[in-house]
């Protein structure tokens, strides 16, 4: 095409361009504003709404008063949560164990009544929801920690022994984990040793325990086959 046309076109387009530039400067403020709105909205979504959606709650089949039992039974936690002869840990007591004392209602609370009627009488196991159940791939040895390392239950389980009511059981809708594993704090931050029970938390403690936990060729930590099955 001819150079003349070129010039003409360029001129026209320049014009248009400047026009648009003018508009731009006015729009600048808006643009920033919209950016902030989008930013804020997504932050709220991610930090506030998302956790609410992610976790769901269940109530324990009946209210359990740890404090009272510790006081009544004595022997501290071992009174009910003991080691079997093969070194395995009994965990949440089976009905038979409760029945030893609760053949007849003890005290007149409502929960006591339901417990005796619904479970003891019908010989149905109580479907307790375990706050600190690790996934199936984890092998956790209570004897290694409690007998071997002489650790206190509180380190991992917190002060549940002092609780008078059973708090609701929260679980992750996607993974089915108890919320105690990841911790209440959605950011996964922890203040106490029992706030979180993910692999890194075990690892941290093991690392602090020093040289004996360096059997892994790959990581110089504990080999996988210590806590995994």
């Amino acid at each position: 095409m001819s150079t003349l046309d070129e010039k003409a076109k360029a001129g026209m387009e320049d014009h248009a361009a400047h026009g648009s530039d003018a508009k731009e400067s006015g729009a600048g403020g808006f643009i920033i504003l919209f950016f902030i709105i989008g930013f804020a909205a997504s932050m709220v979504l991610g930090w506030v709404i998302f956790p609410k959606l992610l976790y769901s709650q269940k109530q324990q089949p009946l209210n359990f008063n740890h404090a009272l039992h510790v006081e009544e039974v004595g022997e501290g936690c071992e009174g009910c949560h003991y080691f079997r002869e093969d070194g395995s840990f009994s965990g949440i007591p089976k009905l038979a164990q409760c029945t030893e004392c609760h053949e007849e209602p003890m005290g007149d609370t409502e929960d006591e009544a339901t417990f005796v009627e619904q479970y003891v009488a019908k010989e149905r196991e109580v479907p307790w929801l375990s706050y600190s159940r690790q996934p199936d791939c984890v092998f956790f040895s209570h004897s290694a920690h409690v007998i071997g390392a002489k650790m206190d239950c509180v380190v991992c389980h917190g002060h549940i022994g002092e609780s008078e009511v059973s708090r609701p059981y929260e679980y992750n809708r996607i993974t089915g984990y108890s919320r105690d594993i990841w911790g209440k704090d959605i950011a996964g931050l922890k203040k106490n040793s029992w706030d979180r029970m993910k692999m890194d938390d075990c690892a941290q403690c093991h690392k602090e325990a020093g040289m004996i936990h360096t059997s892994s060729v790959q990581t110089d930590r504990d080999a996988c086959f210590v806590c995994h099955k």
Binding site: M1, A16, A17, D21
Partner: protein
């Protein structure tokens, strides 16, 4: 209707033709996608892989496309670092092809792993002793580089370029491209090599195992070298095919011949190295482990000495000679034959380093394991090809891929005028999505 988006001064096929083409290739793509979904939702039982064939067609495809995509980093290296400026006329296409190859590789990997949702473990829980870890990191990082190299190309679309921000962005990216190219070369060197290492480190498998330098087996260097050598050949082959399809010349011969020559010398040197490696392996490495060539190339229905010949002679020596000798190189037929043989050779090499490795029995009482892919595997392997063609079609139509195209194919006045008029009649222009 989309002429406003078509680069200035070039002619493109009518919309209906373009859409028809898209439709046909799209159908193939859809087939591949269906197979991909089957693999994701039903699991890898959809494939013919088995416990003897943990790696099969897919991993071969990965290694192959990455080797062929090597043209991108190598021509980038030549242009931006070595300063072979003529290559600017083909670098765009090299980048596009590289981009397609690498995105395909990543997609295939995502299908190949048994637990795609955990794929990120390879980064998060990285084991630095594993060649595959190195592959994953460098591959992803280099893909980022390729994307960076591809973006300015997109921004040069006639309409996008009108947006000042985009214009400046692409401008600046061009300015700093050398840095990216250098990084890309660095990354490529390692992941191409690691892909070679993947087989080379298998000290339990005498067929694959190679000694080497420090932690890197010889295959590490051979793979890098071969990618650099054959990559450009592939770029040129695709260019040639594109020219045939577009029925016009897109890149000047001097450029093609330059790259072809370089490729030729690279292939030549690589082949020498490969021959040395094979000789050492056949006479020292394998016998040291109690095996000799006959154990690897006889006693089964498929893998014979022919594969050695096909890979090294047909796919190595022959194309090398053709591309080195000026008269043969300048003859298009010979040249393209060389490209083709080269591509065949490097693909065959990758095949051997994946599938034959799996096929050879190691325990004396074990048996050869032969395998043929299931249709799902084939479909998912063709999927990226279809995707590549589509991306090329779109890019070629709307982006100034070939700087020399306009000059090589001047268009007559009236058509040009028509295009102009058309453009001006549409003042408010939408971006490329039109």
């Amino acid at each position: 209707m989309d002429s406003a988006l078509i680069p200035k001064g070039v002619k493109r096929c009518p919309m209906w033709q373009f859409l028809l083409g898209l439709g046909i290739v799209g159908a193939v793509l859809a087939w591949g996608v269906y197979a991909m979904l089957l693999c994701w939702f039903k699991g890898l039982n959809q494939t013919n892989m088995n416990d003897y064939y943990g790696f099969a067609l897919w991993i071969w495809a990965d290694l192959a496309v990455i080797a062929l995509g090597g043209g991108a980093f190598f021509s980038g290296l030549l242009k931006y670092i070595i300063g072979k400026d003529e290559l600017k006329n083909i670098i765009n296409y090299a980048v596009l092809i590289g981009f397609i190859c690498y995105s395909s590789a990543l997609l295939i990997l995502a299908i190949d792993i048994g637990q795609p949702l955990r794929g990120w473990f390879i980064f998060w829980h990285a084991n630095v002793h594993s060649m595959l870890t190195e592959v994953a990191f460098c591959l992803s990082a280099y893909f980022a580089v390729l994307t960076i190299e591809y973006i300015p190309l997109i921004l040069e679309n006639r309409q996008l370029d009108k947006v000042p921000f985009f214009h400046n962005l692409s401008h600046n990216m061009h300015e700093t491209m050398a840095v990216f190219a250098a990084t890309g070369a660095f990354l490529s060197f390692f992941h191409q090599g690691s892909l070679g290492g993947v087989a080379g480190v298998l000290f339990g498998r005498p067929f694959a195992f190679r000694e080497g330098l420090l932690i890197w087996p010889w295959t590490f260097f051979l793979f890098t070298w071969s990618a650099a050598a054959y990559g450009p050949s592939f770029t040129l082959l695709i260019t040639w095919i594109t020219e045939k399809v577009a029925r016009k010349k897109l890149v000047k011969d001097n450029v093609v011949e330059l790259l072809a020559k370089i490729s030729g010398w690279m292939i030549f040197t690589y082949t020498i190295a490969k021959i040395c490696d094979t000789t050492r392996w056949a006479n020292i490495t394998a016998p040291g482990l109690g095996q000799n060539l006959a154990d690897f190339y006889t006693g089964n229905a498929f893998y014979g000495y022919w594969i050695l010949f096909a890979e090294i002679i047909l796919g190595g020596v022959v194309p090398a000679i053709i591309l080195i000798s000026a008269p043969l190189r300048k003859n298009p037929t010979w040249r393209v034959t060389a490209f083709f043989l080269g591509v065949m050779g490097v693909s065959l090499n990758r095949w051997v380093m994946v599938l034959q490795v799996m096929a050879v029995p190691i325990m004396p009482f074990d048996t050869w394991a032969l395998y043929y892919p299931s249709w799902q595997e084939v479909a998912t392997t063709i999927l990226p090809v279809a995707y590549g063609i589509i991306l090329i079609m779109i890019s070629y139509r709307y982006l100034p891929i070939f700087p020399q195209e306009a000059e090589l194919n001047p268009i007559e006045e009236e058509t040009a005028m028509a295009v102009e008029a058309h453009t001006e009649s549409t003042p408010d222009l939408k971006p490329a999505n039109a």
